[in-house]
Symmetry: C2
Subunit: 304 residues, 2 copies
């Protein structure tokens, strides 16, 4: 199967209903290109905050047809604040950042009075990877937002990644809790104790239909033969749909390695706020941002 064909599945699913995205400061080509492509493919409308000249130049036709509207703002920071307002007024069901730093956007999202985070919720970054050498899409996180989660944050992360898998049509997602070995070691690796707890709660049914296992390394999570060689009998059967990494260093190393060395294409969303966020990084190209918009549409709650 071609790499891009598998992420096209996100687009197919996104097409079922047309949502509106608020885009903060769309000054860069890849953001403008990604939004234009998503509008033309019929799965979003867009409210563009700032950079009116560039937007008019790129998508005059979509403006005429009413799929793209402009909101005047002076600065990237104002764009972020206003985008959050637009979402809170119910006019958009997704938020995307353009050429504004992630810190500025997250500050607007996290603002306790005017932001988008309900009390008790946490933000987590979820990637959906199309790795040519794996037999299906692979969700993983956190590579960018949550540095070193505690058990409450891990629980939230598990719920969000299960939501993401289900929104991709996976009825009983297989989630691996990643660690460098399969041994539980409370002294050196406290994450493994969190994992034992999460596996137990998943078996008790707390998270719905799913198979959660760990600690397991990346290889035994995604390759049955590797697990068998090591004598590991995991219910994941080397067929993980999602990997939860112990902390940001390993998640980030995985992300950078599959994109650089294994030819992976990635879509990313940040979940946990009232709406999914598209917070792509500076280096992402147009197609990555396009598929990320589609992933955010998939993740948006059905009632949105």
């Amino acid at each position: 199967m071609e790499t891009d064909q598998r992420l096209e599945m996100l687009v197919e699913r996104a097409r079922s209903r047309r949502l509106t995205v608020a885009v903060a400061w769309p000054a860069d080509k890849s953001t403008l290109g990604a939004v234009k492509r998503a509008v033309e493919n019929g799965f979003i409308n867009a409210i563009m905050l700032g950079c009116a000249d560039k937007v008019q130049e790129t998508m005059g036709k979509a403006i005429e047809e009413g799929h793209v509207t402009l909101l005047d703002v002076e600065t990237p920071a104002e764009a972020a604040t206003k985008a959050v307002e637009v979402v809170n007024r119910g006019e958009a069901q997704l938020l995307m950042k353009g050429l504004v730093s992630t810190d500025v956007v997250l500050r607007a999202v996290l603002n306790k009075e005017t932001g988008l985070l309900d009390p008790g919720n946490v933000l987590t970054h979820i990637s959906i990877g199309d790795i040519p050498t794996y037999n299906k899409l692979l969700c993983f996180g956190d590579v960018a937002v949550m540095p070193n989660p505690n058990v409450l944050q891990r629980t939230a992360q598990l719920r969000y990644i299960l939501d993401m898998c289900r929104s991709l049509g996976i009825e009983e997602p297989r989630v691996s809790l990643v660690h460098c070995s399969e041994h539980v070691d409370a002294k050196h690796f406290p994450c493994t104790i969190d994992y034992v707890e999460l596996v137990k709660r998943s078996r008790e049914g707390e998270f719905g239909a799913c198979i959660v296992d760990g600690p397991l390394d990346v290889k035994t999570s995604c390759c049955l033969e590797a697990a068998v060689t090591k004598g590991i009998d995991s219910p994941l059967q080397g067929q993980a749909d999602a990997l939860i990494f112990p902390e940001i260093e390993s998640g980030n190393a995985f992300y950078k390695t599959v994109t650089l060395f294994a030819g992976a294409t990635i879509a990313c969303v940040v979940l946990g706020a009232r709406v999914p966020l598209v917070v792509s990084s500076r280096g992402d190209d147009e197609m990555t941002k396009y598929y990320s918009i589609a992933a955010a549409c998939c993740a948006a709650k059905k009632g949105a």
Copy 2:
């Protein structure tokens, strides 16, 4: 370039002098096969501790020719202890484990009275990866031994990985100190402060001819284009010869990911003891162990 051809370079270098390896409990096929191949290729002699029947069956000819000798032991643990003795008597310049758990071998190596670790030294695991999508061999660590190094341990790790690169013929090794971003953040990521110190000391010449930079992520370490896109001007120029990971989780994730998803072949050694150790994992095949023996020969001190 074919994958295997690049690790063959280790064999070419190992051939310059024939060293002797002490092999603890060679009960498994891949250890026996790897040692036999290395003996036949003329770069090692072997002292096999235990499993006499299997050794005789596999390499009768090499025994006749005097390249392989047998030492009788009763258990895997005794094999580990005796292998350390053999090394300490100067009869072997390398130590390899067969079907004995890594813990048992390391306990024998770390024994303060009878072991192989000089005071003040630390053990670190170094991998040499032949990743088909990278333009040269890439050393990296630590994926298995050092969980969460302090600055002294990181310094030792840097020295060992520089030694390894130099033993591969790289005159001015380029080493990246890996982190999930290029920002120094003492509060959330203390490793970045260690990195600043190591970069400074490398520029002052403490580690000889080398280029050390960081914090940098995996992608900007190994891809100039990715660095330029992010506006990072690193002297590594996207051409790292070695990656030092902040802790074991990210190192292990990298190792498992390049082998599973990017078709990498890996040779591994543990450095820091009086002699290099070949401490392969259960899942490693014959060729991995064979190349690891060659890597250990390269790493063995010239005077050995």
